[in-house]
Subunit: 127 residues, 4 copies
DNA sequence: GTGGTCTAGACCACA
DNA sequence: GTGGTCTAGACCACG
């Protein structure tokens, strides 16, 4: 999986890393149980500090996206969660996002169709 | 309109302010051309510094959500934009949001229905 | 002559007024000796404060663009100046302007040709 | 690069700073990718507040002149833009500038020759 | 009365 | 060590 960082972004590097890995998991590019690169390896590949990669991994672990085993390194969590409701935090984000879209002139059907397109790329689908 | 801040949030105060005002505009709680509180007034009401409020207003102005009239202070922009496409930035955010939802176990129809609910609250609707 | 103000501009109203009158004089839309509207009249037409118009007139007077006679109001100055050199202040502005143009990718010949076009509209030409 | 501020100028300090850096970039005194002084350093050198420098940097960043890298501070943007047309905003400024020059008695060839001189100092030239 | 600018100092997040 | 945020207060330009 290819990770690309923008050093001049508003988003901190560790968060960019976290976001891309989350998307990788959702799209199936990273399979459940798949091993992630070591902190050191990834840091070197990306030319960034190991602390930064470590912070991203800690965050992903804390959020339950990956599990970290001292012997085998980091792996994508086996999928378990099946909670049909969006977390309040995500719901709030979605509201803000839709607000901006609505003001800008995006109508609902256009928005919904875009959602469908994005959902279609996700491997983690629930019926 | 009621604005509430969480001082212990990760999100900077000025950004919380900006977000709530954007949502207020989208839901119609703040009508186009409506006058916003003065920088000083809002700062005092919220118990924060004027520069923090000023920063939020500058951001909103720069993004086109409000207009700052030297004579009468800040007002909600008259709605003009009617761009059916989501900006790349928002689209990226939406992708990340859906990725998280999908992993967590939210299925597409549930997500879409939530979007509908949120859209229903928006006054800024386009057919 | 038509004057239009943007209340949401960075440029103060009195300066916008001053700028438009200067351009009017240069293009010949306002002839030398031509009478300008009274402060009160112009303020009413534009829906702004008389103080604002007054400030613009004072500035124009101080810069020599107009003369103010208590009996007959403000008139465009008869053309007198014939100084072939740009004032240091304008030269500095020109340098900044060209710097921005150059960085943005405008080449010299394109810039020069634009200058020619603008000069062509000026009535105040010197051989 | 030497930066000098006039505290008694009409132009805000942060804008003076911005202007001088823009000119520095255009003349090549500041090369693409070159590191700018840190906010703190520059503030100390100039005897002004860090927030003032910060505001200048934010403005330059927003305008695309510099890039702010979380790791190493601010750097001059790698040159990319190659737009042969002047932005409407600059064109308007140019018109005002030429109007003032024309009234003052500067003729076109004199003006053009001054432009040439200024262009000659710019490193950011396009054929 | 409005926003715009600036200061002197502080604390925090990021890397 | 970097920039980002915030404060409490001040002064100024604009209208």
């Amino acid at each position: 999986m290819i990770l690309s960082l923008q050093v001049d972004s508003e988003t901190p590097l560790y968060e960019q890393l976290r976001n891309q890995i989350v998307i990788g998991i959702a799209t199936g590019e990273l399979a459940p149980q798949e091993k992630l690169p070591t902190v050191r390896q990834l840091a070197e590949d990306l030319g960034i500090n190991t602390m930064t990669v470590n912070k991203a991994y800690m965050l992903l672990k804390q959020e339950g996206y990956i599990v970290i085993d001292r012997r085998h390194g980091a792996k994508v969590s086996p999928r378990t969660s099946d909670n049909p409701d969006l977390s309040p935090r995500l719901e709030e984000q979605l509201q803000l996002l839709i607000a901006q879209a609505a003001i800008q002139g995006v109508n609902q059907s256009r928005f919904q169709s875009l959602c469908s397109q994005i959902f279609a790329k996700m491997a983690y689908r629930h019926p």
